[in-house]
Amino acid sequence: MSQTEANRESLSALLDDEANDMDIARVLKAVDDPELRADWVRQQQIRSMLRGEAPVAANIDVSAGVRAALEERAPRRRNPLVSLAVAASVTMAVVFGGQQYLGSQAPTPIGQLPGGVVAVQGASAMQASYGMQRNEAQPSRSPAVTHVRMAAPAPGNVSDYERLARERYELLVTDHAAASAMLQPNALVPYARIPETTR
């Protein structure tokens, strides 16, 4: 495993609250690695989107200031791993770029949307939110956006929607292939993917 991959794995462990002391030390040591920093910002963006929080700005970097502060204030003669472990979960949020909230157009958490998620190969569902109920009031949003309230799906709707998804695929896949062929480096593969039965 390359150093970069090891750093990324340690960063993922940290974000998943599964980091050990070695992970924390490794991430702090590689704090100046631009790829790792970009990874952190990206992971935070995705996590905040999936949670429906306001997007994280990608261009905020306060690491220099934070590090300077740490340099000045870090007490001497302490077990470095212990102090790192204590500080890491708080420090990471700041060292790698902080979070800047962008306006008020936060999307509603995906998990609040009604409907079930069908587990398919190669795509892990974030959560099965079918029929999920929520009682909290929604925060107010930009007046430019109208709110839509959705009814919870009826039981058994998942299979209806699976059937519907299959029908939509057969009806629309050629349109998708045409658009994809415009953009794909290999123009014929999107057409080759279309099953014979849908034509």
């Binding site: 990206r42 995705i46 949307l113 398919v120 190969q121 998804a165 939509r168």
Partner: protein, 327 residues
């Protein structure tokens, strides 16, 4: 702490010195790293060159040959032909109608993809590849930087940059699609670009897109919006929801193509959002959740069979994701 970072910094400096952009930045004293500086273009020059050749190959080279496509545990042999600026022709060899070739248009006019943009979403590495269809190749390995896209291992013709073998891998490491040329004859490079497509204004827009994805500047139909990260493409379709159907969602997968359908029922009308793309289902869900539709009024309702008037007033749009559970 600064001293402990020095070995890392020196190793990094040695790596970066091969990249002129970074070397310039370092020499001019821009050592304090910001995320934007790191992602301006982190590709080594040789990777940039091969990736650029690959991205440009579609409109500059014609070819004909036999393609093996594996998806859904099925294998197809397809005789294919493409001329630059012309349509593609496919003849499936495993079905009885193999006598008749299918013709599809290849439309162009889309701005080229910057290899650096690919580098923002994928970690790209380059090495010598295996011989494919008798041609020497470069192997480009593209590992996604997140789980919103698939990974690819591509073997590209060293002369044309055409992909001769491509394996698509899920974030979990499973192969879900593979294609490979058994034979190929690459024609002389042509200068005719692919023909353009008349732009159609869609009846809806997308809000915040998943990281790395951007709107395609061209649209296939009024009820279709297309996004891409440079390699993966997804189409978002919007239709009226059938009256008998309540809200819900469903997913099916065909090879690397996921179809995610979500029905949203309001008190007045319903919308059916369908995402079809070569992306993980979570990406499709995020795209569906980003749909913003015109305000509910008879004139603004999408008519899939007709071409409605463009809706260019963001003030009168509804964000499908902005809801609470109204059951």
């Amino acid at each position: 702490m600064l001293w402990s970072l020095m070995p890392v910094f020196l190793r990094r400096l040695a790596e970066l010195s091969r990249q002129s952009a970074f070397a310039c930045a370092l020499l001019t004293g821009l050592v304090s790293v910001s995320v934007h500086a790191a992602t301006d273009c982190a590709l080594p020059s040789e990777v940039h060159t091969v990736l650029g050749q690959f991205l440009a190959a579609r409109s500059t080279w014609g070819y004909e040959g036999t393609l093996l496509l594996e998806q859904n545990n099925q294998r197809q042999f397809i005789t294919v032909a493409k001329q630059p600026g012309a349509q593609v022709s496919l003849r499936r060899m495993n079905v009885p109608q193999a006598d008749s070739a299918q013709q599809f248009p290849v439309l162009g006019g889309v701005p080229g993809v910057d290899p650096c943009d690919i580098g923002d979403s994928y970690m790209v590495s380059l090495e010598a590849g295996a011989t494919v269809a008798g041609l020497e190749t470069w192997r480009l390995t593209m590992r996604p930087r997140d789980n919103l896209r698939f990974g690819y291992v591509m073997e590209l013709d060293r002369q044309s940059g055409l992909p001769l073998r491509v394996v698509t891998i899920t974030p979990e490491g499973q192969m879900i699609e593979r294609y490979e040329f058994a034979t190929i004859q690459v024609a002389t490079a042509g200068s005719t670009p692919d023909s353009g497509m008349p732009s159609v204004e869609p009846t809806f827009t997308l809000g915040q897109l998943p990281p790395g994805f951007s709107l395609s500047p061209r649209y296939g139909a009024a009820n279709q919006v297309v996004v891409s990260d440079g390699l993966a493409t997804a189409s978002v379709f919007l239709e009226p929801l059938p009256e008998a159907l309540q809200s819900g969602e469903g997913t099916v997968r065909h090879g690397s193509t996921v179809t995610y359908t979500r029905g949203v029922r309001t008190t007045e009308l319903g919308w059916l959002v369908t995402v079809i793309g070569e992306v993980p289902v979570n990406t499709a869900r995020l795209l569906a959740a980003s749909v913003r539709v015109p305000d509910p009024s008879p004139e603004a309702a999408p008519q899939p069979e007709a071409a409605p008037e463009p809706q260019s007033q963001p003030q009168s749009q509804t964000n499908l994701q902005t809801q609470s559970d109204g059951a």
